[in-house]
Symmetry: C2
Subunit: 429 residues, 2 copies
């Protein structure tokens, strides 16, 4: 007996280089959110190389288990770009050159002062019966078609070409297709994301125990990564029958329970949250880093407009640099060591005073693998904050079980979170 497929989706990312990893996948989050708004849940992601038979096998496996299949990549002009041919062969269609697709490509290239070369003509070859999707950003058109009761979309792999094509080309056609298919039980879904930091996953888990009422369609997810514990609530977008609690009400309750370990929502990052608070309070920041090596500065400057509040960062990797750039007393380093609460405080004070910024933030610690002693193990980190005379605080952290890279990440997060809490307290009072 054939198992009925549910109204779920699968992405197929095409490209041999993707099999080798080392690349950040940002496409699937975008596709997942867009499909959720149509009531379609993303359940599988497949990655496959450029081999024709491998792609065909992936397509066939996908339509067996998913009603919506979103293919990304393999639409370029080179012989390695096999998506068009794989879809045509798998679905038993022939490839034909489409005039509309060709004209649009020629027009786009003309805008850039170029004419299509021979291999670019390949991009206008589309499986018969497919609906062509125009590409307002690049040269490769996409397409959608219906096959064996599944909706197939072929899209460019580059996010800035794929995203508008999904919004403007795929979603209206998917909505129409769902309507034609008389898709039942398809409920538009939304996802809310809350970001927490500073406590382990088990604490977040306990804090949210019993949040979701029994029988509620809303799902709670808790995901740990080196810098944070992320909480997601996924559920129907529309107001549910009487007696059920809405996703917004549950989200508000989650916010209350998480309280100060909650640092942001949705696309917020710690650096964007801190930047917003600094901007609101019209304060400027100077940073003194040791073991994080520039990571805090790097993160803060990922935010557009950060030059408004970030004055400078001193990465004082050597003791000499700590003394010269920040005025940390030599005898203090000799007495307490460079990794100490005293030095963290002196670094924060020094960078604030020398820069004239409102706040000085500092980190000193042992990222490993070398540099540890019996009393000062790898993962021992001090964070300091100086907001003016008699307003200095330091905090000790002991990070276990991570390599150099993870200790750097966690140290930078701890420092920025200390600053966030200080700014929140200052803003309230």
């Amino acid at each position: 007996m054939k198992k009925p497929r549910t109204w779920t989706a699968e992405t197929i990312a095409i490209g041999s280089e993707l099999l080798l990893g080392g690349r950040l996948d940002t496409n699937s989050l975008f596709i997942a959110d867009q499909l959720a708004a149509c009531g379609i849940e993303l359940r599988y992601k497949t990655t496959v190389g450029d081999g024709l038979t491998d792609i065909m096998a992936a397509l066939k496996a996908a339509v067996r288990r998913s009603r919506v299949v979103m293919i990304t990549g393999g639409l370029g002009p080179t012989v390695d770009d096999m998506t068009r041919e794989a879809v045509a062969r798998a679905t038993g269609r022939r490839l034909a050159r489409r005039k509309a697709a060709l004209d649009e490509m020629v027009a786009r290239l003309a805008e850039w002062g170029r004419t299509p070369n021979k291999s670019q003509f390949r991009q206008a070859m589309i499986p018969a019966g497919a609906d062509v999707l125009s590409n307002p950003v690049g040269t490769a058109p996409g397409f959608v078609l219906s096959w064996k009761g599944a909706f197939l979309a072929a899209l460019p792999g580059v996010p800035r070409e794929m995203e508008p094509m999904v919004r403007d080309g795929v979603l209206p056609r998917l909505q129409e297709w769902l309507h034609h298919q008389k898709a039942v039980g398809v409920t538009p879904m939304v996802r809310r994301v809350l970001h927490t930091t500073g406590v382990p996953e088990s604490v977040v888990d306990q804090t949210l125990t019993g949040l979701i009422p029994k029988g509620s369609p809303i799902q709670l997810g808790i995901y740990a990564s080196p810098m944070e514990i992320m909480v997601s609530l996924t559920g129907p977008a529309a107001i549910q029958p009487q007696g059920t609690v809405s996703i917004d009400a549950l989200c508000a309750e989650a916010r209350d329970r998480l309280y100060d370990i909650l640092y942001g929502e949705a696309d917020d990052t710690m650096e964007s949250v801190v930047g917003r608070l600094l901007g609101e309070q019209k304060l400027t920041l100077a940073v003194a880093e040791s073991c994080t090596g520039g990571l805090i500065g790097h993160r803060l400057t990922q935010v557009a407009g950060s030059s408004a509040y970030l004055d400078r960062v001193a990465v004082t990797y050597s003791n000499r640099a700590k003394i010269e750039m920040l005025g940390v007393p030599k005898h203090m380093i000799a007495r307490h060591g460079a990794v100490s609460a005293e030095v963290a405080a002196a670094m924060a004070r020094g960078v604030r005073e020398r820069s004239g910024a409102s706040i000085g933030l500092s980190v000193t610690g042992i990222a490993g693998p070398g540099g540890a002693t019996d009393k000062k193990p790898v993962g021992l980190v001090y964070v300091g904050l100086d907001g003016g005379p008699n307003d200095t605080l330091t905090k000790e952290f002991r990070f276990h079980g991570g390599d150099r890279s993870i200790i750097k990440l966690r140290s930078s997060q701890a420092a920025l979170d200390l600053l966030r809490r200080w700014l929140l307290k200052r803003g309230r009072g």
Copy 2:
């Protein structure tokens, strides 16, 4: 008719958070290389959420097309960790607590001064007949089993737990299994990776045209990413029949052709290569960053032992910081602008002189989206290097078509590459 499966592999990454992306996958590259050494090519990567039936469906699809299936993730202690149960149900085995697995977990926790909690006991539940793999780094044991002519391995998702388990636990068992299966046509393969930077993909492509002789089993791959063009050569590890060229000979030829755009091989990163050169020449470095915001310092300090050659980094985001921390003349900024070759040179000189380091390296540019003028567009970046009196150089870059984050990455790479080339030239004498 059932299609015969080839000796290829598939990875299944388990975790709902992975479906949402936003995370760098480093596991598949490692697994691909390890399997290639056994003659097994990685052909598919599947990602699936924590749902029991979804994982079971993914397992079944995988064994239909691949003889080797490597599952990562879902071995933790929480109720979301479904790998053990999914494998047991899919393969029709029961889960049983294994004493050896339990003892090892208790011992590991004891080392950390902890005792197992109730949920951690779940981790010792292993499908009947499976071979338990010990975890010398974490608490979750892995396991391997043979099912329907396929070799299945279940591994932790965390790289530093997964990697030793593959090397010490999986590979010997896989070799033995392949021997028992009388695997024919399985040729151990090797992959050589060369890293290039500073030129577009098309230049690397042209440079390597005709490298691989006709009929050779060796495959050439060229993969572009923001900071580099990566070249890979994949082919049989053993010496081939007379008349064919070995992978090592082709690799040597590729090195010659790529010459100075080749910056590293295999696991090399630009920062590790630069660090090695600095160490060999016993030189120290000080860095002055503007638009990169600390990224160069962050990258340099990702390398263990970098404190031996990195003295300090000054992230001078404001003009005042450039003047105070580096001694850049105020009138120079007024006349040429902070983003200019003159200021880049003054920053490099200033940070070298004030630190006493052998070399000063600097970057100033416009990362965008704001800050551009008609004459100075987003993506305009100047890199400076100062190696002592009368030894200053600067270079202008114009990076097109990338956001703030990509311009920062490319600027940091350009600065480190300038330093690499300077060090190479100096080393040659």
